[in-house]
Subunit: 398 residues, 2 copies
Amino acid sequence: MEYILSDRVQTLKPSAIREIFKYASDPSVVSLSAGNPAPEAFPTKAIAEISSKIFEENPIGALQYGVTEGYPPLKAAVWDFMKNKYDVGTDNDDIIITSGAQQVMDLLTKTVCNEGDTVICEAPSFIGSLNSFRSYNCRLCGIPVEEDGMNIDLLEKALQTQKNVRFIYIIANFQNPSGITTSFEKRKAIYELAKKYQVLIVEDNPYGELRISGEDVPCIKSLDKDGIVVYAGSFSKVLSPGMRLGYAIAPKPVLQKMIVCKQGEDVHTNSWAQMVAHKFMTEYDFEAHLSYLREIYGKKANFCMDLLDKYLVPAGITYHRIEGGLFIWCKLPDNAKISMTEFCKQAVLNKVCVVPGNAFLTDEKEQCNSFRINFSTPTDEQLEKGIKILGKLAAEVL
Amino acid sequence: MEYILSDRVQTLKPSAIREIFKYASDPSVVSLSAGNPAPEAFPTKAIAEISSKIFEENPIGALQYGVTEGYPPLKAAVWDFMKNKYDVGTDNDDIIITSGAQQVMDLLTKTVCNEGDTVICEAPSFIGSLNSFRSYNCRLCGIPVEEDGMNIDLLEKALQTQKNVRFIYIIANFQNPSGITTSFEKRKAIYELAKKYQVLIVEDNPYGELRISGEDVPCIKSLDKDGIVVYAGSFSKVLSPGMRLGYAIAPKPVLQKMIVCKQGEDVHTNSWAQMVAHKFMTEYDFEAHLSYLREIYGKKANFCMDLLDKYLVPAGITYHRIEGGLFIWCKLPDNAKISMTEFCKQAVLNKVCVVPGNAFLTDEKEQCNSFRINFSTPTDEQLEKGIKILGKLAAEVL
């Protein structure tokens, strides 16, 4: 049998990060390439308690079919949380619970993009979302990220010149992979441009609660008087990624179609996970848990940045200091003797795994002299060991 | 803001069944329109036990990110089960765990269909799958179902004349909604035709374990020497639909791309659910549970068919006696004074909800004089009450 594949999947490749995991699973390799929450960040005791309680009180509810839109008490809890804390959500919006925020990207693209339509994103950007857009044969247009967010002039130029732009995809807080937080000024500018050119904004905010220094910047969605922002939230970094729980708060006409698409995609999201998240948000001290996470990740981030200062900076590698999130973006010196790709390969041979920066570009073949480090998954010992090795390598080969 | 929607979702509507649920949620209405497992069919005690054990033994495993392909021990358990019991799966195949079998339809369509390509299905067929195919702008070509499965001549004619047929979608056991089981002769004929015309077969088998009389018929996938069958399995009817667990056993070149698509769709399936299903299959008596389900549903099906014989048959409504599954397909007499749609509307006004048969056609506007009854969700009292009302109505208006 000669298998005929759709045009959209012909060129689709597994995420480069997932491929790197193959090396990373070798126990002798220090992996700084993942994006997993720290094991100590899971409220395992609370979840075990809640889960037992659910099976005592309402086992059928946890096991039976649910509605596509999501478990109503969880929808209400998330809605209230986002409204009260971030002023996200208007009368024109509604909420859907999804199987992770990744599904928001899939459903939204399916809902608003024809094949060949353009999605504008940050360059670099989160590879999982880019692959989701690619899987609908969208054209990707990357706008370079500066210290305070996308280059606004280039964004407007893209909106003027690109064909059938359907939305701007942005991770405004502690962006993956760059670590950049978009300034309030730029958030307003991006909103005004989207309004002017009548395109949607997809604001993906998985790391928003993980701020370790500085002040919160208002969500773009909180500016949304015109019904142009789709907000994507996630429980992966604040509760558990294995539960696969996310949500979208979006204008009703768009959300309605996303619901119909979700029906055909997975009917609804795992009921047990929705019930656990609801009880955790409403019967436990969710804010205290978030503070605890900020404490864990603050410590780990500062520890990691100290190590970078000590071992990588002297070898000419620079990085952007982060105020939150899980990732640090490291740049090779301009006069490096070997390419970033080569550096990452040599790192693996030396038993340290990082993600080559070009994996996050709209065109992986483009030049890039940065790589991404994650500090949430490794232990402190692993971090120190891995960064020491990188430093030694850098001193030798750069 | 004027929202621009993709061509593929413009005409996509919520499933008619889900719309009917709005009436069905009125507690004074007897709903014979769902497809939910009977509440007594859930092994709640075992699942509660397993869940506690998981949170004692390996909480991080249940809460952390998993791999897209699925939890390896569950993959192995399902593979062995299907191989040993049904001779499903060859060296050319592999397995992926999905978020319900619904996701198999979505991933497969995304993988092998361009917009405008044709999917051949039974007429009538499962509306959820049809909507999944529609959401990729596939053309649907329905082949009438006879007492022993699809009309083979019409199937071959469709394969000869339809453009870019990518696969034949079939529910061979206790089909939803018709209740028909495709004979072994027809399974072989369909396989040979697919091979001759080089198209895939998607064999969707959610009800296979729920046989209440007669003999098992070999799966089409067990005939698959040529790598042309994608087998879709589900835990929804044998464990829990709220867990959203399904799987596909399929030729590797197709499965590999489905995995890449799943990465962009929901990353992976809920880890806890996968671990629960694995332990239930390997540490509990899964076969005893399946026997118990057959006992429950056998009783309910026979009770329902007795009621139909008593109340509907005298009014001229006929039905196909089932050997398994959850649904019965009822046909209005040819000389009925009112249409099926009108009959279903009047039924709702009389506080009984059934699903109009045209909801299951490739073109909902086509004429259909059948409706679908479900017997797994209502209690025996509700079943009796509902069917009595239908009988009274039929005697009055047909």
